[in-house]
Symmetry: D2
Subunit: 187 residues, 4 copies
């Protein structure tokens, strides 16, 4: 079964970014793909920062990327760019580690003033990794992400935009598996 | 005495990038500034990745930035951008952590094809941090950095360019201290 | 029949960029698409610079974009970015003038130091126009483009790379028409 | 007397961008510089688009840049970047046409979502031209620019920010002439 990997890269376990990753992974998993969610903050810090690609946990994460046909990148916006935590992980991948893959860039942030960080800062890096198709990116304002009930709810002001880029991402994945399947037929 | 902080951000202790940081710090220190060299890889990994700005070592590094009037950023080029290690540290700084400061961006890399990463990826981040003056950046090809003798030697093909941006950086620092001083008058 | 539009944007009628546009248009036209080549320099200058979208020649060019399912952008590299001539034309298009379309960004230039201008400067603009799929870009060194014989010849050092991005572009176009057809069946 | 050149680059004679250029030029002219305002749309279109640097009007504009110690760039925001009209003019300048100069980048636009276009798209081009010091950029929302009375008025929400970058620009100019002078002593 084709695989999707959601990579979320906030240093905080309670961040909107990580919960957004969770929500996107759950939604995509209702289709005919196996979807995993890699929270970069859960990787061991020293091997990650030290670029020790031979470390078992780091190596396993890099292999998850290699196996996936689709990659979702979910990052907070810091200093007008994507998170250093995300870049630290991308730096460990082989030169063309996204070759053949579809990529969906997502960001969260407090101000629309940083919307272009996705297209000007993260998109070129995804293409440097050889991505086959980086679909339209989407930036979600923090205030459109309601976490008051314990689980994330995307408010209407952002939900349609998110639906659209997720649909574009699905269409960018290999053809045979675009339809939802019954739960008992999966995996 | 005014202060300069060189921040090098390669994960490797034997990297050309770190040795370049060392060389630049030594040269600047012959002038009337106190120059320190922060190797980001020596910060404790978990607090750095976890954005624990209250951790003593992280806090001390952030304070070094606050005290400096000039900042040199020395980064390897990975995935058509600057290193995740550098961004991880910059992410910890206050929103306008470079306010009032002069900044010199330097990069090392294997191919001139990545020269523009400095101006398109790192420079906007430096300005997001409120830098007063980010001088012309400079990209050094790995093959122009000879480490065969144990210490770094910048080959002629790159040494003039490096000299020029260092001079521009000195001119961008506060005025009273632009001239070299005798060693016994320093600190 | 599906349509492709090659847009070349050098101010010079004898430029490598325009000849590259010509060559790419000819090659794509051997497949089951109708391919046109818009040389932006041939549009009337005053209406183009004045954003007079109602001018007949400008309006016709904008309509060519609207009708195309695939767009090739061929630009020289000036001042570390794509040509002002190209941007002047893109500025005239509707906000989402590339919606649903596949886009192939190509550049010519004298130095590999400007390779990243395509991904950092032109690609975000293509996505701002709502492009469905901007495939990997390709930068051709002037010295790999031999014009000594009157027609353009892409030297081996760049021909494989050009072939690859053209193939990716074809794969990004709508499915029914990916195969070459006999000349007498065309148009 | 030192010179400043304001370059505004909207295709429209009634644009907020051009009026902003006018206002900035007037304010700077109260100091000890001679300030001119170049409206790129007033240059002859065909020579401008055709890169005919020998044409008298184009040549005179290029010479104005050469003579200035400070350059203000005022552009509308189109397609997530600066205007093609501005780039068309910058493309005509010599390779290091901004060497030794201070530069202030300003943009107008309808949405804060495009704020980063200045730092990610225009700033690298200014540095490619060899600028000595590109100060902090500033983006003005159209709705903060009141033109109802015939002349431009910057509403309070943006006036402080504009004042600050103009002050930084003045400080980046050569030292002797930072103070206002009596009108009869000027020129």
């Amino acid at each position: 079964m084709p695989k999707i990997l959601v990579i979320s890269a906030s240093p905080s376990s309670t961040s909107r970014t990580e919960r957004l990753g969770e929500l996107v992974a759950e939604r995509l998993d209702t289709y005919a793909w196996h979807t995993d969610h890699l929270r970069v903050r859960t990787l061991p810090a020293a091997p990650l920062l030290g670029a020790q690609v031979g470390h078992p946990a780091v190596s396993a994460a890099v292999e998850q990327v290699a196996q996936a046909e689709g990659i979702v990148l979910a990052t907070p916006t810091y200093k007008a760019s994507f998170s250093g935590l995300l870049k630290t992980f991308l730096d460990l991948l082989p030169q063309f580690g996204f070759a053949g893959k579809a990529v969906l860039p997502l960001a969260t942030g407090g101000s629309t003033a940083h919307v272009l960080a996705l297209d000007y800062a993260l998109r070129p890096v995804a293409h440097s990794l050889g991505a086959r198709h980086v679909v339209q990116s989407f930036f979600l304002l923090d205030k459109h992400l309601d976490v008051s009930g314990g689980t994330l709810r995307v408010l209407p002001a952002s939900s349609q935009g998110l639906d659209e880029v997720m649909e574009q991402f699905r269409m960018a994945l290999p053809a045979p598996s675009r339809l939802p399947v019954a739960a008992d037929e999966r995996r």
